[in-house]
């Protein structure tokens, strides 16, 4: 049990148990209010006109005919937004929300309409005349780097890019140490291979949706599904020229985000339409719009050179990673380059990353951004070398595993880490020794992610009847309301069902960073515990007042204030409810607060094991068995930790087997729907088994470590290694869809 020195808890009673989630009944009965469920009197419906071209100059937009239609209350184009001159990051988000001089991808927004009904809005969209000058386009990352490729932006490359690179290369990153060539010379075998991954979407069930209401006094309200209401507030305020305090943003329930809701798409359009029309405006994306115009992850092309001795020691490792991030700078290639070899202790290691733009939607974060693709390449290479020498792939990973004191390829020397523990646990698990049948193979892979903390603000209010409300500012994606209630109840010494946690709007709490980076259970949990401790100190003070003794003569134990020792006097304990009942008589309401920029989050490792079967007639692969081994620090609510492990594995399986953005020769997306963009469903999958390791994080009062992202890092490689073993041919491109596997079988 990991507890810091400020704790008065002797043993966890609630943390580590599995109580029902407070939002469970609402979600299974349809009572929960998601983004599209919010309405307002006099509400208009907003729709977006999108470019049919992959790359085109916008010569003119005539909205007059649409504006003249009955029922149309506002039409907006880029001309309705002030240009952002001093902030390229926000300027790119604005350009992605509403195209300026050029449409940069199929589906890029060029105009938006607010009308009294969806039917009128749809008709009005057809009355907007856009004059385009189609331009040559490029959607493939390697093609985009060619010297003769169509160029999306002029002079956007930063100072790290050599002048002889193509015009679509935006940034270069390099990490590592040692001498690659010298290391390769010590190897018994050197593997060189290029790996490719396609862009995938986060695939959240709930499309983007919002309702905006801007008053004539400039006060604005926005309800939306997002991973971060404060991010929405700050970004939209910058785009609309509002003061942040004038715009209140309320996050709805969220039907998945996985990183894709860490930016804005519709929200600024709805606000401008509302400001222009003077009416509330609701906007909801269709699934096709979600796929065409919200942010998928990068597609990648990665070269690996790796040397290994015949006893499994990696002597040298090099990777050159090329990630296209859609039409704007900012692919997560730096994280791919930093994390690619992070699980290993390597004397000679180097990565080079290239950030590339192409005529695709602006990429958005997706769970451990950039890491799964890099792990696919590196873990596939390790597997191929290990199998080539007839070595146990887990033994090879253990032989090269990073541990405390290892200097990682990104330069950091690790503190105590849990990688070896996950590999040892995997090796001793019954899954590892279970028999395989014909056309079946088993794959393993390791993965790493950083995790972080960030700005966090929590209020904890003691009500007069002794129940407790916790206010946090992060949308609950993975069960955080239950986890916060559990940590508050644990710290206060009261039952879990006495605590209710709610998600505050931006006017009710100070700044909270986005729900990302696996930060919420770590950082918001830390703030919740500290807020509870502040409330306890106040309650001890109130008891001291009642008893007429010094404050420091009172302690908190098992949900009650008690005299701290025999010298304090003999008084019966005062429970939280008893202190709450007389709060008006002892100084007024009791609350605890904590505000922090949580730093010092611990890194995280996982090992995945998967069995797959390949049908040699069709190339179809089936996942037979899957086990996740990951360190959680301390699992506050093990159901949710297991859910994060399982969810990451399932999304990784979809990425590995089927999901991909398919572009036609004209640069338009060919599969903008869930019939043709195939995410795995329950019937495609076995039960995903999980093994939670608990190696406490010293940076958190209860030892908690973020778990939300690491679980998507190993699956691409683990599945590829299983299918390669089953098929007897190395799969170096994902998704490993049946036609691709069949082709590999026939040519291998």
């Amino acid at each position: 049990m990991a507890l810091d020195s400020d704790s008065d808890i002797k043993q966890f009673k609630i943390v580590g148990t599995r109580p029902p989630r407070p939002d469970g009944i609402d979600k299974v009965t349809g009572r929960a209010r998601f983004g599209a469920d919010v309405t307002a009197p006099g509400m208009l419906i907003g729709l977006v006109l999108r470019s049919p071209h992959a790359h085109a100059r916008i010569l003119g937009i005539d909205t007059s005919e649409a504006e003249a239609m009955d029922g149309v209350h506002a039409v907006v184009t880029r001309a309705d937004f002030a240009e952002i001159e001093d902030d390229d990051y926000t300027a790119d988000i604005l350009d992605n929300c509403m195209a300026g001089e050029k449409a940069l991808y199929d589906g890029h927004a060029v105009a938006a309409i607010a009308a009294s009904s969806g039917a009128i809005a749809r008709k009005a969209l057809k009355r907007i005349r856009v004059e385009y000058e189609p331009l040559p386009h490029v959607t493939d990352v390697d093609a985009a780097m060619q010297p003769d490729a169509p160029v999306l932006h002029q002079e956007r490359a930063n100072e790290t890019v050599p002048p002889d690179m193509g015009g679509n290369v935006m940034a270069r990153y390099e990490f590592g140490h040692g001498d690659i060539e010298a290391g390769l010379n010590k190897a018994d075998r050197v593997l060189e291979r290029t790996y490719r991954t396609e862009a995938t979407h986060q695939g959240y069930i709930e499309p983007h949706a919002c309702l905006a209401q801007v008053g004539p006094d400039g006060q604005a309200d926005l309800w939306c599904c997002t991973q971060g209401q404060y991010m929405v507030r700050d970004t939209c305020a910058a785009m609309l020229g509002l003061k942040q305090g004038q715009l209140r943003v309320t996050a709805s329930e969220i039907g998945g985000g996985f990183g894709g809701k860490t930016t804005v798409f519709l929200e600024p359009l709805a606000l401008v339409l509302s400001r222009k029309s003077g009416r509330p405006v609701k906007m909801v994306m269709s699934r096709a719009e979600v796929l065409r115009a919200s942010g998928p992850t990068s597609s990648t092309s990665i070269d690996v050179r790796m040397g290994m001795t015949k006893d499994g020691r990696i002597t040298s490792a090099f990777a050159e990673l090329r990630y296209q991030g859609g039409a704007y700078p900012g692919s997560p290639v730096e994280f791919g380059a930093m994390s690619a070899f992070a699980p290993y202790e390597l004397e000679n290691v180097k990565t080079i990353g290239w950030d590339v733009v192409a005529n695709r939607p602006k990429q958005a974060a997706y769970r451990a951004p950039g890491a799964p693709m890099a792990a696919f390449a590196v873990e596939s290479a390790i597997d191929e070398l290990a199998r080539g020498f007839g070595l146990d792939p887990l033994d090879v990973r253990l032989k090269n595993a990073a541990r405390e004191g290892t200097r990682a390829s990104h330069g950091v020397t690790y503190m105590a880490i849990g990688l070896e523990a996950t590999v040892h646990t995997a090796k001793n698990h019954p899954h590892w020794s279970a028999p395989l049948g014909p056309n079946q193979g088993r794959g393993v892979a390791c993965g790493f992610w950083f995790n972080f903390g960030g700005n966090t603000c929590v209020s904890l209010n003691i009500t007069p009847d002794g129940t407790v409300n916790v206010l946090e500012g992060n949308p609950d994606i993975g069960g955080s309301r239950a986890s916060m209630s559990m940590m508050a109840a644990e710290e206060l010494g009261i039952p879990y069902d006495k605590v209710r946690t709610v998600i505050a709007d931006t006017a009710s709490l100070g700044l909270n960073d986005v729900t990302d980076g696996s930060r919420v259970t770590f950082a918001v949990g830390l703030a919740t515990i500290e807020a509870a401790r502040a409330a306890k100190r106040e309650m001890c003070k109130r008891a001291a007042m009642v008893w007429g003794i010094e404050e420091d003569a009172v302690m908190w134990e098992d949900g009650a204030a008690r005299p701290a020792g025999p010298n304090a006097g003999e008084y019966p304990p005062m429970s939280l409810a008893e202190i709450a009942a007389i709060a008006s008589n002892t100084g007024g309401p009791i609350a605890g607060h904590h505000e922090v920029n949580a730093e010092g989050a611990g890194v995280s490792f996982a090992t995945h094991m998967v069995d797959a079967e390949v049908d040699p007639e069709t190339g179809a692969a089936k996942i037979l068995r899957y086990t996740v081994f990951q360190d959680a620090g301390k699992a506050v609510h093990p159901d949710f930790v297991e859910g994060q492990f399982q969810g990451g594995a399932v999304q990784g399986i979809g990425w590995a087997l089927n999901e991909e953005y398919v572009y036609g020769e004209d640069g338009t997306l060919q599969n903008a729907g869930f019939l043709d963009y195939r995410v795995p469903v329950a019937s495609d999958l076995p039960m995903i088994d999980t093994v939670i390791l608990e190696i406490p994080n010293p940076g958190h009062p209860y030892g908690v470590r973020g778990v939300g992202e690491t679980s998507i890092v190993p699956p691409l490689a683990a599945v590829a290694n299983a299918i390669s073993a089953a098929a007897g041919v190395r799969m170096d491109t994902i998704p490993m869809s049946p036609p691709r596997v069949l082709l590999a079988l026939r040519s291998g």
Binding site: T160, F175, F335, Y366, H410
Partner: protein, 81 residues
């Protein structure tokens, strides 16, 4: 003096050094003095960095202490999903 490790592509902006020595007692002093000593690093510092100090990751807290024997590593600004 504190030794600060730069990632490879930043070395070009710091006289080809992957490790530079900076006078600093806190995170803010380290970043300020780094930009002053090596102006070529300023574009990346303005875009944002994370800093690993003795193996733990920090983003913003200016007062974070740095000791002379601390391991300090600049990292690309961390983001999550």
């Amino acid at each position: 003096m504190v030794q600060v490790r730069l990632w490879g592509s930043l070395a070009a902006a710091a006289d080809s050094r992957t490790v530079v020595e900076i006078e600093a007692g806190t995170l803010r002093e380290m970043l300020d003095n780094l930009a002053e000593a090596y102006p070529g690093l300023r574009p990346q510092l303005d875009r944002g960095v994370s800093v690993a100090i003795d193996g733990l990751l920090y983003n913003d807290t200016w007062s974070t202490p740095i000791h002379e024997d601390s391991e300090v590593v600049l990292l690309a600004r961390l983001k999550g999903g």
